[in-house]
Amino acid sequence: MTAMLEMRNVSKSFAGVQALRDVNFSVHAGQIHALVGENGAGKSTLMKVLSGVYPAGSYEGTIVFEGEERRFRDINDSEALGIIIIHQELALIPLMSIAENIFLSHPPSKFGVIDRDEVYRRTRELLAQVGLKESPDTLITDLGVGKQQLVEIAKALSKRVRMLILDEPTASLNEADSAALLERLMAFREQGIGSILISHKLNEVAKVADHITVLRDGRTVDSIDCHAEPIQEDRIIRSMVNRDMAHRFPERSAKIGEPVMTVENWSVYHPIHPERQVIKNVNFGVKRGEVVGIAGLMGAGRTEFAMSLFGRSWGTNISGHLRLEGREIALPSVAAAIDAGLAYVTEDRKQLGLILADDVRKNITLASLDQVAPGKVIDDIAELKIASDYRNRMRIRCSDVYQETGQLSGGNQQKVVLSKWLMTDPKVLILDEPTRGIDVGAKYEIYCIINELAEAGRGVVVISSEMPELLGICDRICVMNDGAFVGEFNGADATQEKIMRAIMRNERSNSVPEAAEMGGSQP
């Protein structure tokens, strides 16, 4: 079988920095080829070379697609041949419908007038093909991220697609949506479409990939034929980071003390639909030195719960009791929450965590400016020293603290956000998806930081959709579903199955509320 795509000896450098060195990469028709590597390993650069974002001539090496050497001048050239790239950041227009988005660039038309019947007919076909049960009229903004991802794929399929490139398609999807997406990918394999899957989630890669290529520092360091040999995650990780990651999670010995934060009968309503109760009278607690995980599916209410605690930054009609170190307190604002010793590290660091246009220094001191500003006037030298100090302690890789945070990699951005919250010296930190979109090496560093925080006697709450992560770092795991806690496990006893079972049991009982009530009334 000859390869559908062959990239030979591709090299590319930016202003003296070699991003790719002699990379060889080939994909067969009907093959899912996974491309893995740490952030900055060159995966995106390679895909940009392939799709023509970096035009022919700006790199060395050759691209052969369907038997001919190709020199793409821009992304239109590669799209014309059916090479479609779906980016990590979705490029859909939120206030347009599914149908309008799918046929944005080339709507079927007669004499320049859009043929609506045809648009709808074809949209329905495409949605059926990707397994999305939504009306073509639905606005993108009303869809979850998982469904939006499927719309992107439907959009790709509306063009003549020969090769699909997915850049971390499941980064922000929950387990169920990810599984559905990967199933689609396997269906495309049957249709002879070649796929390139860039992903940090090795279990997914292991599930669907026919071939795995590992990039490190712009070179191909490993190439695994998944049908010829068994997939060993450890081997992949070793190749990716060039160090033995037998322990993907740092060791820790927990020294758990008094309760530092307790929440009783907490209830929160939706800010736009005030009749909807999102958090249903829950109880929750974290002790000094303890790492508590909150597991759950996307939409379970975990982020909403955390943000409602953090100075009522989400929801309306919030009621319940919140105690910090035994004292009941009301936190009417974020400023009050910070003063009381609460910190919330957002799941969406680009939109909610950082000021991307500002430098590392300004971002770190933002939540605790008073510490460097006696009399409300900023002492710039004190500020610089503190920021540099955090840069060293957290090992933030940046040219200096005056570098814009927008230029940093995901892992380093996350460390800046963590530094900002550490500087407020919190008693309790709530970390919402702290390792989303971060490579394996940086993840390990974040886990170490979490451990250090707990060891320093702080209470740490970790919200995560990656169950292995919760299992690896938490002393206790609470499972949330539909705005209530439906299970709690000791870190040592918990397994993925148990957590999933707790969620699923609750899902089922929710769908037949009468039955649940009957069950509850029996002795």
Binding site: G40, A335, L352, I355, A357, L366, K376, I378, Q407, L408
Partner: protein, 396 residues
């Protein structure tokens, strides 16, 4: 995943400094180039003491409003009503001082308070009701233009008390014996200012150095300081050889220094930039984003009122047409000075230089006898060009 993480190649230290500073001082160089151009084209009229004094007086109210507008733009908003508000306040001032014979100090304070109230009223809708500032202040523009007409009943009202006129047409009193045409007090103040500036920056530099912070190369620093001192001295010399420092220039300089300090060095300044950079992230960092947005509009109202008073005092009469179109010059000054329309970026120095570029062009073209028609065309193109250069620089 981003590829931007790759470390940039080490640049020669001096090269790096010059490049960075070119971007910072780009607009200042444009101003100097434009001044030189008109100086040559007008055969030296531009920098004659009389003309320079007039230039300052003519543009003082634009500069004053640009300081407030910069903050509004930095928070990601815009204020289209400033011209109308300035006109309205001028009308109210005339009503108070001319018709009702209210004491000028009291009237002055009342007018500033009224400006604050107007800013608060508009800021409330923008900050707490989340109505786009474009719409709120467009409404304000119509309302206050109308109110100015109503207050004046379509007529001009004047003249103002002589002391009030001094706000715009007065010069600082001469304390020292006159030396020919030169006003020694003004010259002295200029010299002290120049020395003070150089001293402050030298002190800042040595303080940074003592903490082991990388500073600009000494030669560069020295050159910059000498240039700065010379520019201040030359400027004061020119001004002092006409009638001395105008009162309004003193007010303006104090305000520029104050706003420069607030934006660069204070907590509230930093927080205002954070609101414009990413309001959601700022709010989740405990910053009261709505309150700060509200405050920037209150501040804008006060400065618009001050500008209105300065303008009324200069004309010595309040007219229904006062303030017409000021907002355009003020907004243009901020954008020419490098403020970003998306918020979060902009410098006080930039806005001031932007205002001066507009002022010098107005003045220079008038001297050259270019009609008001083509003046507008040229100013429009300069605005577009300046912003294009800025966007291009940021993309690189």
């Amino acid at each position: 995943m981003t590829d931007k993480t790759v470390s940039l190649p080490e640049e020669g230290r001096h090269g790096g400094f010059i490049k960075n500073n070119l971007r910072n001082y780009g607009m200042l160089m444009s101003l100097i180039a434009i001044m030189l151009f008109f100086q040559v084209m007008t055969g030296g009229t531009l920098l004659q003491p009389l003309n320079l004094t007039n230039l300052v007086l003519q543009n003082s109210y634009i500069v004053i409003m640009a300081l407030g507008m910069l903050l509004v733009i930095v928070t990601g908003h815009i204020d289209l009503s400033v011209g109308s508000v300035a006109g309205f306040i001028g009308a109210v001032a005339a009503l108070l001082m001319v018709t009702y014979k209210v004491d000028y100090t009291l009237a002055f304070i009342a007018c500033l308070a009224l400006g604050a109230a107007i800013g608060a009223a508009q800021g409330y809708w923008v900050a707490y009701f989340k109505i786009p500032s474009f719409i709120v202040t467009l409404a304000g523009m119509l309302v206050f233009k109308g109110l100015a007409l109503a207050v004046l009943q379509g007529q001009s009202l004047g003249p103002f008390p002589a002391t009030f006129q001094k706000l715009s047409s007065g010069f600082i009193p001469e304390m020292l014996p006159e030396a020919g045409t030169l006003h020694p007090t003004s010259m002295l103040i200029g010299a002290v200012l120049a020395l003070g500036l150089v001293y402050a920056s030298a002190k800042g530099r040595s303080r940074e150095q003592s903490h082991g912070i990388e500073v600009e190369p000494y030669a560069f620093f020295l050159g910059k300081s000498i240039l700065l001192a010379c520019a201040v001295l030359y400027f004061t010399y020119l001004i002092a050889s006409h009638r001395g420092l105008p009162n309004v220039l003193v007010i303006m300089t104090a305000l520029i220094a104050l706003y420069g300090f607030v934006t660069r060095r204070t907590v509230i300044g930093r927080q205002i930039y954070a609101v414009g950079g990413n309001a959601k992230a700022a709010s989740l960092s405990g910053i009261k984003t709505e309150w700060l947005t509200f405050l920037t509009f209150v501040n804008m109202g006060v400065l618009a009122a001050l500008a209105g008073l300065v303008f009324a005092a200069r004309l010595n009469t309040a007219t229904p047409k006062a303030g017409l179109g000021f907002e355009l010059d003020v907004i243009a000054a901020c954008f020419i000075g490098g403020a970003s329309a998306y918020g979060g970026v902009g410098r006080v120095g930039g806005a001031v230089v932007g205002a001066m570029i507009m002022g010098v062009m107005n003045n220079g073209m008038s001297i050259l006898g270019i009609g008001i028609d083509y003046q507008q065309v040229i100013k429009g193109l300069v605005l577009l060009g300046a912003v294009c250069i800025d966007v291009y620089n940021q993309r690189r």
